[in-house]
Symmetry: C2
Subunit: 188 residues, 2 copies
DNA sequence: TTATAGTATTAGATAAGTCAAATAGTTAGA
DNA sequence: TCTAACTATTTGACTTATCTAATACTATAA
């Protein structure tokens, strides 16, 4: 469902193609909703069938011509009603790295310490990547999305990316605490 | 993939049925990996076909008899190699509430403030629920999973649930900051 | 004894997501 | 001119997830 909503959301900024949408996802929302290329194009077709978006033209710069989609009035309404009716189920997350942490107790002590280090390292590189997005890639995002820096739609996108950064920092703290807990425990 | 791994993980604690697994998910990992009942049973069949788990018996308490599955040696190896090889893609999350935040700038100022309040409230109820899990339901989890309180597998499960609590708290902070930012901005 | 609630599993129909690869145009450089 | 890299979309096969509901057993209480 969130891919539908994500695509509607991007198209509410300006008319764009599947390729543009993929690029925007990659530079912003990819951490909290992955978007497969094939799935984007399929979802565009289905949103068009449902009358939530429509083909509004074609554009050719460097490379083959691309199909531009525009959100319809019905699409905007759908998006609004989605935003105005959040529910608890929207707070159900999918976090594969936490599933790993959950079951990491199946490893022996040495392996477990290695696992925690590996997670820490991956979490650090993600943090770096997201911080970059948050600071440096802001401009590229605003430009590609066609938004000025004081547009609320730009600001809300930045808030969400900010979450990614904060979330990594929270996880760093937790991993550090866990490691300390293990090391001060019974040593074998 | 994480449902496969989650089921293997639970079965590495003790032999149990699909129903038991569902109960354990609900009282622990449901926040970071939702488990559909039908999907659990289908995944059990497919793991059995692959030789990662096997039927080890039947049990009847109150209600109809249940089929107990046990993890095989091959299943344990699969689980180990999953835990010992974390990658960046395991850090790609799915967070529907953040997709909402991302696109919330499409709302007008008044609606946006309402949206942030609604998210805050939902986040608070989730926090309460997860805190409860973290404090009160620990015992029920340990008992259902057949783990003692000093078993590393119990401890790692508790760490992961701790993340849920911390994550809610981080989000509360972010939402508070965002709201302050809006309210001190240009008032219309 | 009848209804209800909880236990336990299965089936069917869709929907959504993943992965790999094919197709095809454009540009820039060796 | 050939090739490599980037742009842009589509297809097929498959896996995973979701939603609904059917089936059926047991225990408890009205």
């Amino acid at each position: 469902m969130s891919l539908n909503n994500g695509i509607l959301g991007f198209l509410s900024m300006k008319p764009m193609s599947g390729y543009d949408i993929k690029k925007l996802f990659n530079m912003s929302a990819a951490y909290f909703w992955p978007a497969d290329q094939a799935q984007i194009y399929r979802t565009l077709k289905s949103l068009e069938r449902d009358g939530l978006i429509e083909v509004s033209g074609f554009e050719q710069n460097a490379g083959p011509s691309k199909t531009l989609y525009t959100i319809t009035e019905r699409g905007r309404e759908t998006m609004r009603s989605w935003l105005l009716n959040p529910t608890l189920s929207d707070f159900v997350a999918r976090l594969p790295f936490l599933v790993e942490l959950f079951f990491s107790g199946a490893l022996n002590r040495k392996e477990l310490l290695g696992f925690l280090d590996a997670q820490m390292e991956l979490n650090n590189s993600l943090h770096e990547k997201l911080s970059e997005n948050y600071t440096e890639n802001k401009n590229a995002f605003a430009e590609t999305a066609g938004l000025s820096k004081d547009d609320p739609r730009y600001l809300s996108a930045v808030w969400a990316c900010r979450w990614g950064v904060l979330s990594c920092e929270t996880y760093t703290k937790l991993l550090t605490e866990i490691k300390a807990e293990i090391l001060t425990g019974t040593d074998c």
